[in-house]
């Protein structure tokens, strides 16, 4: 902590600025929490950067899914503003000149013949990388990260590209997959006995976790330089990542899909508990007279504890009818997963998938414990292509009506999933109208933003008029909200 920072006023200003950044990143921070944070930092030994971070987190972040966003903002805001704002001494000072190559004691000490004040040759670089990972040497990895960014990221001042672009360039040049393979062969060579599959696996896990650490170092290094180039405010903006529940199904990156997959299981568990509770306690029925009197006997005949009948509404049967063509496949996957995870709330779930042809896939889900296995079968085995594998809602609906229409009953709730981009085929919207006449409810869930509905070849409006409701479901948050009111 520098002298300017230790006076109370500037500390509070700094904290206020930090909270503004957190809110801008989408974290809900209430006034109470703001005040708590101000109290907290009075008690925290400010030199201890970790303790400082955790103290702020404990008062400001009340949802673990927001932790990463918090950490990123913290790092940018406090550590990367330049030495004046750095907390404690755990971080090396910024080195913004391209002098890392020369001035690195660790690199020189790595014993790879770094050549004193000269730049390393690519071969020396590669060897240093190999050694750093083999030993899991933190200091070497840090030095290497700096080197690699200087050399490979090709960062230019003022260039409007994001950090991921530089990260990608750096990693491609380091070719870590190949290094990993070399590390493994080395491990195999050094082992007196051939490695068993289990040993192989554990070795590989260890190296992979080191590679991950290196990647994090590189990412941090790139961030540091970007901040130096563009300033904190601009950087904070580019770093804002959506929370898992806000990730758009239709444009999710692979990494985001992974985070979604992780988020969905706890979410379904919560949802199931909530729905079960609602079913049990939801409505109070009429007074149960006999039960009340029976209980009143223990209070001398005074009916102090009235008893109610709990009506148990029949559970609905669910038909999911899902477009699984390219752009909406992820949406279909997560919706099916969600519905099956809470299938205990329904008397039965049947599922149908289509592109231009339609197929029932209920059996893939029956008796499997692991829904992702079922989803995999849906994607590989279902017979959904009729002519050309481009969405044709009209044809799919016609066939659906012909084959399964008569099985819809007043207990059935039909969920139709898709963007209703029909490639200008005819809509056959009458099918949806007929469904609604027989079913308990028909709902349409559309993963596109509402603003795009009925533009281009989207004809969701034509179907929508026959539904009990059309809902925008772009992310887990919206999907969860819909499912919760489903009956």
């Amino acid at each position: 902590m520098t002298a300017t920072m230790s006076s109370d006023g500037s500390m509070l200003d700094l904290l206020t600025g930090f909270i503004v950044e957190l809110r801008a990143a989408g974290l809900p921070v209430s006034l109470t929490e703001n005040l708590d944070a101000m109290q907290a930092i009075i008690h925290i030994p400010i030199e201890d950067r970790n303790a400082f971070k955790y103290a702020l987190a404990a008062t400001l972040v009340k949802n673990n899914a927001h932790w990463r966003a918090f950490e990123t903002v913290f790092e940018v805001y406090f550590s990367l503003r330049g030495p004046g704002y750095a907390l404690g001494g755990s971080d090396e000072p910024l080195e913004l000149d391209d002098d890392d190559t020369a001035a690195n004691p660790e690199a020189a000490g790595a014993g790879t013949g770094g050549g004193g004040g000269e730049a390393l040759t690519p071969e020396q670089m590669a060897e240093m990388l190999f050694k750093a990972l083999q030993k899991g040497d933190e200091a070497m990895m840090k030095a290497l990260a700096r080197q690699a960014v200087t050399r490979y990221a090709g960062m230019e001042p003022g260039r409007p590209v994001g950090g991921t672009y530089y990260l990608y360039r750096t990693l491609r040049n380091l070719d870590l997959d190949n290094v990993l393979e070399q590390l493994m062969s080395q491990a195999r060579e050094e082992s007196p006995e051939p490695l068993t599959p289990l040993e192989e696996r554990l070795e590989k896990d260890e190296f992979e976790s080191r590679v991950d650490r290196l990647k994090q170092e590189i990412e941090a290094e790139i961030r540091r330089r970007l901040v130096a180039d563009r300033g904190v405010e601009a950087m904070a903006k580019t770093l804002r990542k959506p929370l898992p529940e806000d990730v758009d199904f239709m444009h999710a990156s692979r990494e985001e899909l992974m985070s979604l997959r992780k988020a969905i299981y706890p979410l379904t568990r919560k949802l199931a508990v909530r729905l079960a509770r609602k079913r049990r306690h939801g409505r109070k029925g009429p007074l149960d007279f006999r039960n009340t009197v029976r209980h009143s006997l223990s209070y001398g005949g005074v009916p102090v504890d009235p008893k109610f009948r709990y009506p148990r509404p029949a559970k609905p049967e669910i038909f999911v009818v899902a477009d699984i063509s390219g752009s909406v496949a992820a949406f279909a996957r997560f919706t099916l997963q969600l519905v099956y995870a809470i299938s205990g709330q329904f008397s039965r779930v049947r599922s149908f998938v289509f592109i231009d042809g339609i197929d029932e896939v209920t059996k893939f889900f029956e008796g499997v414990e692991d829904i992702s296995v079922a989803i995999h079968r849906v994607n590989t085995e279902a017979d959904v292509v009729w002519v050309d594998g481009h969405s044709d809602y009209g044809h799919a609906f016609e066939v659906f009506w012909e084959r399964y229409g008569r099985e819809i009953s007043p207990k059935t709730t039909v969920l139709i999933l898709g963007d209703a981009r029909n490639n200008y085929h005819s809509s056959q919207a009458w099918v949806v109208g007929e469904m609604r006449k027989k079913a308990r409810h028909v709902y349409w869930l559309n993963p596109e933003p509402k603003a795009y509905w009925d533009t281009g070849d989207s004809i969701v409006g034509e179907y929508g008029v026959h539904c009990d409701g059309t809902y925008e479901c772009r992310n887990l948050r919206q999907l969860e909200k819909f499912v919760e009111v489903l009956d």
């Binding site: 708590d36 970790n50 955790y54 068993t196 289990l198 192989e200 554990l202 919560k270 909530r274």
Partner: protein, 307 residues
């Protein structure tokens, strides 16, 4: 809050000392855990501890009680928990008996009423007990996510003001601010009101080094190399997409089992035969079995060696 009690003596020196003292009672914490415990004492605020099952949430409260030499008062939550089980209840039976006994005497109804709504007829439940205690206590409100959201309201007064209002007796205020832990497995979202009153601590699976330390501490007879292998394999298994990942307590159980079986270096067969200690779902066991015995390389051992 704190001023109200004129207590300037704090329980802990620094986060580092929290960490050291927890270690003395065999609880291995980290910067986050120690930092939040330290802060909770300084600010006089409860801690809401959340995280996967078996990661030491309940144990944290117990261990803190132990280092403070405080009595642990535990309120185990469940669906349907109400005021009479959490806070206090009037002892109806005893009151009735008293009323009957007094009927033959001259006492007026007012006398009787003051009498039967006095301390003697009060059944103290954990929350009230913690507030009224003279000796130091740690209050553990375990698995708070199990109560209905409406029931949470019962806790709010205690958590922010450390007091309880009883209509017949007035407001009872704590003589000392106890340390309070609430745990949650996150089966439902807790109310904003509750979260605002607490410091938040998420305890996740420990990293490998800490988990190894935990194993060494909890299973003292184990060798360093076996503990190392155990935690490596557990880390590997936690990376799979499972319904339920192994918890710390399951890691400990597994280490004990292997030790009992006389294993000193874990082979695939050992691991697979004992997977049911680590994993609770059959589908998870099947998946892990497949993964552990799978060949992770195209190039098998025995490829031409260069040296």
């Amino acid at each position: 809050m704190r001023d109200k009690f004129h207590r300037m003596d704090f329980r802990f020196e620094s986060p580092t000392s929290v960490r050291a003292r927890l270690r003395d009672v065999d609880y291995l914490s980290d910067d986050a855990i120690a930092g939040v415990v330290f802060l909770a004492d300084r600010l006089g605020k409860p801690i809401l501890v959340e995280g996967p099952a078996g990661t030491g949430k309940t144990q944290l409260a117990k261990s803190v009680a132990e280092i403070l030499g405080a009595r642990l008062i535990r309120l185990q939550c469940y669906e349907g928990l109400d005021e009479s089980k959490a806070l206090y209840e009037w002892n109806y039976k005893k009151q009735l008996l008293r009323i009957q006994a007094e009927r033959n005497n001259e006492s007026t109804w007012e006398d009787i009423e003051t009498d039967i709504f006095s301390d003697e007829f009060l059944l103290t439940r954990p929350l009230l007990e913690a507030i009224r205690s003279d000796d130091p206590v740690v209050l553990l409100i375990d698995e708070v996510d199990r109560v209905e959201i409406e029931t949470e309201a019962l806790l709010l007064e205690i958590l922010s003001d450390y007091q309880v209002s009883i209509p017949e007796l007035g407001t009872i205020t704590a003589k000392q601010i106890p340390m309070v832990f609430l745990t949650s497995n996150n089966t439902r979202e807790l109310s904003e009101a509750l979260k605002r009153r607490c410091l938040f601590l998420h305890i996740d699976y420990p990293d490998m080094e800490r988990e190894k330390e935990i194993v060494l501490t909890r299973v003292p007879e184990i060798t360093d190399s076996l503990a190392d292998q155990v935690t490596r394999i557990v880390r590997s298994i936690r990376q799979l997409e499972l319904k339920k990942s192994p918890s710390v307590s399951e890691t400990i159980d597994w280490a004990r089992t292997l030790l009992m079986l006389g294993v000193d270096s874990i082979t695939e067969a050992d691991a697979i035969e004992t997977l049911n200690i680590l994993l609770k779902y059959q589908s998870d066991i099947t998946r892990a079995t497949k993964e552990l015995s799978a060949d992770t390389t195209q190039r098998r051992p025995g490829v031409p060696r260069t040296s």
